[in-house]
Symmetry: C2
Subunit: 299 residues, 2 copies
């Protein structure tokens, strides 16, 4: 793990889009927006979860496995060429075919030379009505990681991981200065406006909480648009180590956010609130337990 020089700032680009049925249309639009973000100076550009297609996990359908591809594969090759041309780091969420019948919800980190710097496989897999991810995705087996780029140490987690403080903490302990969450989260039709807003606020709050607890920058990149009964709520955002929102996209529009993150703020924040100094690591072993009731078998 190398440490970018202090005093460094990184320009982060988030691409919030809607998705059409046509895969090529989605890919082409994503490329256009990556170009736009690069033109605005973004050095690290993150796409939304499963950006190539509509959110197929709404139903359990064997044929949808055809959407998966190998890593490296066609998408990483194309995005690698683009990253090299634009001299940017690209984070892309892909449906990974690993072996016959073995699939993951993965994110790749492509460096500015176009090389595959690393891969994260979504660790926490949801399964709710219209989010049937346990049907498609094998839980990740690569653990929580941080990847060194010239401009920033970055960790990537994916969507449902957002709700787990353990994921953010382990990624920060690996040295991440910035945690990125490609996301596909939305409202289900028929719920009240009050519940919709409460869900969205809780989603933002828990992530801002991770930024505070770990003293890191954090960004979520969500899709927009209606797909069947789901309306993806957008509102991609970047927050600083104080949990302050630096930029936030709308709930409905396709947008490119380009946001400067001053990484010096991490050291400054952590000096004033030295949580990493005071963690009681000798008392945390029960975090590896499901629930601490009488039924938990203990050594």
């Amino acid at each position: 793990m190398s440490h970018p020089q202090s005093g460094q700032a990184v320009s982060l680009g988030l691409i919030q889009l809607s998705c059409a049925e046509d895969l090529e249309e989605n890919f082409t639009k994503s490329v256009q927006h990556i170009r736009a973000a690069a033109k605005q100076g973004a050095q690290v550009i993150c796409l939304q979860e499963l950006f190539r297609s509509r959110y197929f996990c709404q139903r359990e359908e064997i044929a949808c496995f055809d959407l998966a591809e190998e890593i490296p594969g066609p998408s990483t090759e194309r995005l690698g060429d683009l990253a090299r041309e634009l001299k940017v780091v690209i984070i892309a969420s892909l449906f990974e075919k690993r072996a016959p019948g073995l699939y993951h919800n993965s994110a790749v980190i492509i460096d500015s030379s176009g090389n595959l710097l690393g891969k994260y496989r979504k660790m926490h897999i949801p399964d709710d009505p219209y989010y049937h991810e346990k049907f498609y995705f094998t839980p990740g087996d690569l653990g929580f990681q941080s990847f060194s780029t010239p401009s920033v140490e970055l960790g990537v987690l994916v969507c449902w991981d957002q709700w787990f403080p353990e994921a953010a903490r382990l990624t920060a302990l690996k040295g991440a200065q910035l945690i990125l969450y490609p996301t596909a989260i939305g409202w289900l039709e028929g719920e009240s406006e009050e519940m919709n807003q409460a869900q969205c606020a809780a989603w933002e709050t828990v992530q801002r909480g991770h930024a505070v607890a770990n003293g890191v920058f954090l960004a979520a990149v969500n899709r927009v648009g209606q797909e069947g009964p789901l309306t993806f709520w957008g509102q991609s955002f970047v927050c600083d180590p104080f949990g302050r929102i630096l930029a936030k996209a709308s709930a409905e529009q396709e947008e490119v956010l380009v946001v400067e993150c001053n990484l010096e703020q991490i050291e400054e924040t952590r000096r004033n609130w030295p949580f990493l100094r005071d963690r009681r690591i000798e008392t945390y072993q029960d975090l590896s337990v499901r629930f601490l009731d009488e039924s938990t078998a203990r050594e």
Copy 2:
């Protein structure tokens, strides 16, 4: 661990006060406000951190150890009588003298029969300018707990614990439906208004994040008033398992908040967002490590 009946609501009372030099004055005022909260129907009443005295940790002074008392001791006896009289549960933060030269920042849970139901010793101890707690308080050795009362399963954590997702998680895994944080946090003179507000917002955000991540009710009880260069920022609050603020006190006034918490909401929230189902417990062992760089010794 027993489980209160579903459908049950608990009425929670938070006592936000300023402190005078005179200990008896503080105690008497706290008793008055406990009575007021009970009169408004509060069943579980929580005092602020170290409610008996001004925040002596601003300086390192040997004589301040005289403020400590044994548990059980005079304060628990007096509060026990009060709890029995009012038929309420009282949570009180005390400076505990455990043995000669061995002190803790503890919180006691006194049941409505006046008995000492349990004790928590603050696990995470801060040390910052004007918060010299490592001088006074030995880190807690009782771990993270939940206590069964007839109206609610409750966990108690104290102040600096607020910033550690591990503490909230372990308390929730013990079965807590409500996490209470007696607190003494304030602004240091000479800081900008912008920084002051950012600190306060981060403090609230990270705790609301714990409520969301764990699907629990959560309350912080802070003091108000100026003590030397510190102005305690009050703003005691209660939030629900969605992180929604149910009630919040002012930054400057002494206040009693009495808030009804509908515990049914916990099951409902967790059914919709089943984070406890999806924790990847087999991958969390590194949470017991200080930092995951090359210098960490690994088995």
